[in-house]
Amino acid sequence: MTEHVHRDDYGSRLGMWLFLVTEMVLFGGLFIGYSYMRYRYPGEFHHGGEELNVTLGVINTLVLLTSSLTVVLAIVAVQRAEKKRAMAFLGTTLALGATFLVIKGFEWAAKFHHGFYPNSAHLATLPPGEQVFFGLYFTMTGLHGLHVIVGLSVLGVMLWWVATDRIRKDRYIHLENSGLYWHLVDVIWIFLLPLFYLAA
């Protein structure tokens, strides 16, 4: 009673997965909406896709895939009690996540500059199918971007906890669960790349 602290890592991971499952349904609904709209407006989606910068989309994919790798490597490092290495991996993840957001920011800024933003006058002149394409593009990449920001904040705390030994070899469930969240954010982007950037 005095020394014993109850811990259920299995239960923690299961709880995290149940939350992630709701996230999958959230984005899944948007993916289903996308598939119907693409079926209905194939030409407009093709045309809309041409407006997006494929190179930036692919670079961001590589950035996120690599950031996912460094998170999982940070967990291995913590399991091996390699604290400095774990911090380096987590730091790399944070830097890559920030890079993703900066690239995304430039991309959106360019779109805004060309008159592509929700409810813009230019968008209103486009055919309905293309308006839907950009509506979905901003909704889905925007919601994904919010998840990146949340993920980065959580991983920032994890880096601090590793530094202060709150996360260590015998106790790293928080890092594992944060990693799960970050990987899901990565998986969502894996789908967003071909749906929008490679649609042309």
């Binding site: 299995y10 239960g11 349904v25 289903i32 790798l69 594992e176 894996i190 071909p194």
Partner: protein, 105 residues
Amino acid sequence: MSESTEHAEPNEHASEHIEHPGYGTFIKVWVALLILTGCLVGMSHVSQTYAVWGLLTLTPLKAGLVFYFFMHLRYEGPLFKVVILVTLGTLLIFFALLFSDVAFR
């Protein structure tokens, strides 16, 4: 259920250390993901048909690799897999319902 996990926990934790893979496994998966991304981009440049096939095959494969390895599903028990399969099944049902409606309009 909770009782058994409580008892199993110390052992489970100990075995986790032994079972958990090293850096190499994950780096290999990452390389595979990069190659698949390259294939996906390549296919999208060939033709629209290839692009759609790439989307329908390579993208789920990439997601599967992340789920299975990076998200440690490979090392989890059946309950986790069931939870995820039920979710994907539910989404598939909604997808099928929508398109069955679309098809018969």
